[in-house]
């Protein structure tokens, strides 16, 4: 089966993301990459935990003063929902339903953008109201690095999915681009999982003190 072949519903395989050798390689390679990313985030989490609330003087705010549950809860919901919408998108991809896939991916992008907007607002709030900045303390450096790394991943994921959608909007699904969509959605899930940990470790544990 050649990757660039024109596809029909009948010819569409059950696992289009792994139908060719290239696709299989991409699939496995990306999983391994996510393994490396896991260690990357684990290191950042460890650093954050070691430096949590480590500030030079008492005038600076600590985790329990900063975080507010409603905002982060809404952000969490947005991102969790976007993970779900990307699952629907992949479901339609497997059924060769290109239009539906694009629709759900579009929704995913919108939700992700909403999350990113909230994060920008949140950072802005900390900086201007609490003077909690990247350079104000070791705690600030660790917080913005961990959450910011995640935010950068979200931004990258968004532009990735968006450029895939634009690039393939006119030509529909084939075995060349199906793995690309699949891997991008895998990346999106990973980002979501990392956020669940950030929500727990940074925000929930932060508010407890």
């Amino acid at each position: 089966m050649h990757a660039e072949e024109k596809m029909t519903y009948e010819k569409w395989p059950a696992a289009p993301e792994k139908a060719t050798l290239e696709a299989k390689n991409k699939f496995l390679g990306f999983w391994l990459f996510l393994g490396g990313e896991t260690v990357l985030f684990a290191s950042l989490f460890a650093t954050y935990l070691a430096l949590k609330d480590k500030v030079p003087d008492t005038s600076q705010h600590l985790a329990k003063d900063l975080f507010e549950l409603p905002l982060t809860f809404v952000a969490t919901m947005l991102l969790l929902t976007s993970s779900l919408t990307s699952v629907y998108a992949m479901y339609h991809m497997k059924n060769f339903a290109f239009k539906k896939m694009m629709l759900w991916l579009g929704l995913t992008v919108l939700l992700g953008a909403g999350f990113l907007g909230l994060e920008v607002y949140e950072f802005n709030h900390y900086v201007h109201v609490y003077k909690h900045t990247f350079t104000s303390s070791a705690f600030g450096s660790a917080f913005y690095t961990l959450v910011g790394f995640h935010g950068a991943h979200v931004a990258f994921g968004l532009s990735w999915i968006l450029s895939l959608m634009i690039r393939n909007s006119k030509r529909g699904l084939n075995l060349y681009n199906a793995p690309k969509f699949y891997v991008a959605s895998l990346y999106w899930h990973f980002i979501d999982v990392v956020w669940v940990f950030i929500f727990t470790v940074v925000y929930l544990m932060g508010m407890v003190g």
Binding site: E4, L40, K180
Partner: protein, 622 residues
């Protein structure tokens, strides 16, 4: 390599190498770049030994000495040993599993160019205001307060080359998992492929902590963060943990492929199957696993407390067991065999006592309470040079002689090879054996000089003489390479005559598609089995058909160049107003190239069956 140059003009050859995605050509690129950095790092070592030859010497200044030791360590580990091993992994591993290329040829090229630009960036520090001077470990309190841009070169250069290594590791993993020839089960893979597999898995999990550590240090030094600024709540011990969580597995990332190389050599030149193959595989995997559990033995004196020290001491000792298994399996591979002492076998034979020495001192430094005496002294310097030089470098030199004909189609001169070995081997022991004692006599490591009257003088002089021997060895080897390349006497598929694994079943150098028909593998030492069954080559596993090959691409070069440019911007953005613009420009080049790669369809091309029939004759001769 000269055959290609004769057929094409220089410009065309250069363009070919700049855009190649062929694993064999990338291997040559790794070999050249790694070899170059090996010579640079070697020169730095020579300067160190000249400075320390006599007490109170002033051959180099104290500051310059610290730059030299930092760059010696960093260059040798990241820019010489790793790339040289990558060269052989690239050249040989796909052949050993019967694959036509690696899983991600494009990523393979990208990995090389990232490493290359990172290495060049790091070494440009010599010309742009001074090299890093905080040691290859770059401990945070010293590194943060180091003046000038030296440490910035370290932090940025290693980040770039580190990404290259990481994606290279993923590439090898996927290649080995997905692209083995029919019949090539995991337990039929040659040991070098196995060690490549385990080392790649270790790269995948060990490099991210380094990336994080380097990023934090970059943020501290260049963007005003406070991770390691104690007055601002920071903590320098975090760096030590992150560095060694990477740093210790790194040792095994280097030594496991070396073990793999020697396993091939012992078996090949003894004409005997590797003794205890499955326990060798098991030991390799176990070493890889334990390698992640022992990082804190580099921090025994950092004050982690007796509980942590005791646990890490015992865990470290445990690594001695699988390593011991390997040593005895190698010995018994030769036992009862028909051992031919070729140049690679010289290195392999010399490796046994050298590495055993490094291994036993490894167990000695693992005894935490006694390590308080060894730590940061010349004893440790001696120990890790016995492991790295006595293990890894001997393996690289052995592999160079072993696979040179496979990579370039011509043999290196055996007599010169053996002379090289003797100079290098004697020089190595002369340099480093005495250093065990220097450490025990009270000489700390990383000292730019020492005062007379402490009993260090004679031993240091001996050590410096040894370095001269090693240098002569390397020079002879370079002469050997040049001389045999000029003569360029062509060899056949199996120049050693005793080849066992698949790479010896195909022409030297192999055609760019490696296998016209994928081979059918019937067991360990696949080619040997066929030879013993009286056949000339491998039995094909498929009918002759079209072969799908990837297109060359200049994009890997551009992605890496972008990061190279961005690194200058990041480094100078606080000194010069143009810094930020350059940083953004560089990132635009990188991400723009990635975007181009993503949206531009690249389906590769097919070699047609008919052309293969024609090419078959050329392939053998060329």
């Amino acid at each position: 390599m000269s055959t290609i140059a004769q057929k094409k003009g220089f410009g065309a050859t250069l363009w070919d190498f700049l855009t190649t995605v062929d694993h064999k050509k990338i291997a040559i690129l790794y070999l050249i770049a790694g070899g170059f950095f090996f010579v640079v790092g070697g020169l730095e070592a020579v300067f160190i030994r000249i400075q320390l030859a006599i007490p109170n010497n002033d051959f180099v200044s104290a500051g310059a000495f610290n730059e030299i030791i930092t760059m010696h360590g960093t260059t040798m580990i990241f820019l010489a040993a790793m790339p040289l091993l990558f060269a052989f992994m690239n050249a040989v591993m796909p052949l050993q599993i019967g694959a036509r290329d690696v899983a991600f040829p494009f990523i393979n090229a990208l990995g090389f160019w990232l490493f290359f630009f990172g290495g060049v960036f790091l070494n440009l520090s010599w010309f742009l205001g001074g090299a890093p001077d905080a040691g290859w470990t770059s401990y945070a309190s010293l590194a943060i307060h180091s003046k000038g841009h030296g440490v910035d070169f370290y932090v940025l250069g290693l980040q770039i080359s580190g990404i290259g290594t990481l994606i290279g590791g993923i590439n090898f993993l996927v290649t080995i998992i997905n692209m083995r020839a029919p019949g090539m089960t995991y337990m039929r893979m040659p040991l070098f492929t196995w060690s490549t597999f385990v080392a790649s898995a270790m790269i995948l999990f060990a490099f991210p902590p380094l990336t994080v550590g380097l990023t934090l240090m970059m943020f501290d030094r260049l963007f005003g963060a406070n991770f390691f600024e104690v007055a601002m709540g920071g903590n320098t011990i975090i760096w030590e943990h992150l560095f060694w969580i990477f740093g210790h597995p790194e040792v095994y990332i280097l030594i496991l492929p070396a073990f793999g190389i020697f396993s091939e050599i012992f078996s090949l030149f003894s004409r005997k199957r590797l003794f205890g193959y499955s326990s060798m595989v098991f030991a390799t995997v176990l070493i890889g696993f334990l390698g992640f559990m022992v990082w804190a033995h580099h921090m025994f004196t950092a004050g982690l407390g007796p509980v942590a020290n005791a646990i890490f001491a015992v865990a470290t000792m445990a690594i001695g067991v699988p390593t011991g298994i390997k040593i005895f399996n190698w010995l018994f591979t030769m036992w009862g065999g028909s051992v031919k002492f070729t140049t690679p076998m010289y290195y392999a034979f010399g490796f046994i006592p050298s590495f055993v020495m490094g291994g036993v001192t490894g167990v000695m430094v693992a005894t935490a309470a006694a390590d308080y005496q060894y730590h940061d002294t010349y004893f440790v310097v001696a120990h890790f040079h016995y492991v790295i030089v006595g293990g890894v470098v001997l393996a690289i030199l052995a592999a160079t002689h072993l696979w040179w004909p496979k990579m370039f189609g011509t043999m290196l001169n055996e007599t010169l090879g053996k002379i090289t070995f003797w100079f290098f081997f004697i020089g190595f022991h002369l340099t480093f054996f005495i250093q065990h004692f220097l450490g025990l006599w009270g000489m700390p490591r990383r000292v730019f000089t020492y005062l007379p009257g402490q009993g260090f003088d004679a031993a240091n002089a001996v050590s410096s003489v040894g370095a001269a021997f090693m240098s002569i060895g390397v020079l002879i080897m370079l002469y050997n390479i040049i001389m045999t390349s000029v003569k360029n006497v062509k060899v056949g598929n199996d120049p050693w005559g005793d080849g066992r694994s698949l790479e010896w079943a195909i022409p030297s150098p192999p055609p760019f598609y490696n296998f016209k028909q994928l081979p059918l593998v019937r067991g360990l030492d696949a080619y040997w089995l066929e030879k013993m069954a009286g056949k000339k080559g491998m039995t094909p596993a498929e009918p002759l058909g079209d072969i799908h090959m990837p297109n060359s691409s200049f994009i890997p070069f551009m992605i890496s160049l972008g990061l190279f440019i961005a690194a200058f911007g990041a480094m100078y953005h606080r000194d010069h107003s143009w810094g930020m613009a350059v940083l953004i420009l560089g990132l635009l080049v990188t991400f723009g190239s990635m975007f181009l790669r993503s949206v531009k369809d690249d389906h590769g091309f097919h070699i047609h069956k008919e052309d293969l029939v024609d090419e078959s004759d050329k392939g053998v001769k060329a």
